[in-house]
Symmetry: C2
Subunit: 465 residues, 2 copies
Amino acid sequence: MTPETLARLKAAAGSNGFSEDPTEIAPHLEEWRSKYKGRSALLLKPVTTAQVSAILAICNETSTAIVPQGGNTGLVGAQIPFDGEVVLSLARMNKTRSIDKAAHTLTVEAGVVLAKVQKAADDAGLYFPLSLAAEGSATIGGNLSTNAGGVAVLRYGMARDLVLGLEVVLADGRVLDLLRTLRKDNTGYDLKQLFIGAEGTLGVITAASLKLFPKPAQLATALVAVASPDAAVKLLAEMQEHAGGLISAFEIMPHIGIELVTAHIPGARDPLSRPSPWYVLVEAAGAAQFPLTSIFEAALAQSAHVTDAVVASSGTQREALWALRESMSEAQKREGASIKHDVSIPVSTIPVFLEKATAAVLKILPGARAVSFGHIGDGNIHFNFSVPRGGDPDAFLSRWEEVQRAVHDLVHEFHGSISAEHGIGVQKRDQLALYKSAAELDVMRALKRTLDPRNILNPGKVIAV
Amino acid sequence: MTPETLARLKAAAGSNGFSEDPTEIAPHLEEWRSKYKGRSALLLKPVTTAQVSAILAICNETSTAIVPQGGNTGLVGAQIPFDGEVVLSLARMNKTRSIDKAAHTLTVEAGVVLAKVQKAADDAGLYFPLSLAAEGSATIGGNLSTNAGGVAVLRYGMARDLVLGLEVVLADGRVLDLLRTLRKDNTGYDLKQLFIGAEGTLGVITAASLKLFPKPAQLATALVAVASPDAAVKLLAEMQEHAGGLISAFEIMPHIGIELVTAHIPGARDPLSRPSPWYVLVEAAGAAQFPLTSIFEAALAQSAHVTDAVVASSGTQREALWALRESMSEAQKREGASIKHDVSIPVSTIPVFLEKATAAVLKILPGARAVSFGHIGDGNIHFNFSVPRGGDPDAFLSRWEEVQRAVHDLVHEFHGSISAEHGIGVQKRDQLALYKSAAELDVMRALKRTLDPRNILNPGKVIAV
């Protein structure tokens, strides 16, 4: 970057809108697991869309690469400047622009933290369903740029499904105002879809209009013991029918997962009287007058697929059940090295997939411990393996690529996805070529060239051009 | 078209796959209201994706324009060959490819009629919620190409929201296989979104994987008298809260609408004891054990916005209530000339919009009778006017453009949409320039040029390049 470009970018970002201080920049270069680490000499921190626009116009004119960043919680390296790019932090664009209680819509800037979006909805007596582990630091702009998933997808869909409108700054600095709050709008191509899940490679999201929902007056939550993933899939269909589509979460956990959580997480305990090979955490949300708890009790009692179950009778008990599920990543981390996959498979074939894929991994890594858990209700399994008890973590981790290839090959064979909710970033970029058709890759590249002809927006992420 | 190109296209479509017979072609040139009429000397009727691929490859190579067509029920002229283009009918691509009951997915070819899609879901004990007046002839390919709306959008979303995967033939004949059945798939740009609602201008949809839902075991339906649209909007929020988001339809009708229906449609009657300025038809769908009817009765009894109400106590009574709403277009047609708009407005501002827009129209056409009805729950109003009683229909209709401009200007002022569910086609193409930003139009044109560089796919529709 020339001194002149540097000066122009700093001026465009405003007097408190930039930093060249390595100490301030450092946290923006590395993600929390220290898996990816980049480098950059300039952090820009705009507070207005006009500043983002001016910054991108300069970047485009001078072919200066830039990496947009929200809460820096992404898991695939999309938010890291690997090659000295300018970091564009949206964190200071954190205003709520408007809320419409009657229309159930909320318009916020990209840098608003997800937990604060949830709270703004809650304060208005409404509900924003996107919920995920990183919600205390992830920003809504990042959530939309990665099309985040989380625990409520089964009922409410992915982040994409929660968006009514976007404000986007294009690569050349033009502002695309698509900030509509309409449920129905068929006036030409739905351009906002291009930027959702594009990981900042096609434009920079600066604000979003979101869908809100009636706040569920009542939750019913159960932990259910089942013999197998097949029993879990069958139970899913039964519960969906009994609860009339109100199932908001349906999570599977293996016995070893519960074992790890109770071993590593203080206060965690298995509330069932004897161990089960598999567990399902199921939850429904609905109006106060719906007899959800008795529907759950009746459905579980009459199901041929349930060997034991407990229905939460208080908020505290509900939280204890959820803590089992939510502590699983942390417990697996404390147990030692692990190899992870974020895949999805058509729900009905998950049982067969788990069997075949586990066998394929054990062939490469005998003794590895399968800890497959996750959102089986929407087909998304965190297909993870922990190092064999007493095994060498480095030797174990050295087989990551080989294991991943075997797993992803099977995912492809099962018409699944090698990235269900985490995205592509740099981590899986080169794998797209293995599993996507030439036509699909061509269209992706054509879109990238059309919307970012100078390749300044998060270059090298998602797709190489 | 050269004789050689003609011969190649006929060969590509197969021996029963084309027609040059004007009698057979005629019904493909004109839509049912006779509003648009085109011309074409060649109808192609492929039965396989490979045939569509071969046809488009030839069209692209020879710069031959082609108009894809499903059930020919579109309302904005998108499916009409105005300039002698080849007609590509997808109607013979009408196979169900697969259904997965456990995963709640259905994969069908583009030419399957919507009612048959609904039936295939129903036969499997499941539910496909897209429902609209033309469902007996509209095809799913056309529904997706126009991102159809209908009466269940409030609960289930637009056609776009019901799609998991697509098979698309690109302008150059390459087949883009995006036929996935996954709920979660974050592997790069979500290309299917480009083709949904693009009205056949960016590619030809040949098959789709659709989301199915648990079949509602129970419906509660009420016809409610309210004093004003404002009361209707307030009732919507109340009902959503009481029924926990299970409201599947919330339709508004004015007194004159009920009057026209009872006057023109045999057997129709107003079930309430005295006339009301406005009526709401509200329906919820849910599991068998939910006390929906008593929730409705209690909610309506305690609402300050309800002046009278009847809750359907049988399927027959429910159908009679729906007939009032569904006959409204037909009744208005029988009443004489009308000027129509398909607009959407943020729900909370609909009452003010209706007041202002009605005043604006009456200023141009004193005595015109406002028949504003529709899906107020999702913000979509069919803002229609009937000719004054005894007025001259031609004089009335001659003011269409002027009236439309006044209405659409107000829609724009209210941050609404000038085409909520019908699309753009040719009817509203030139109006996009009035209401979309230059940046948005530029990106639309750039996409069109990228995906259809020779402008062979439905040229002149949606956007001019």
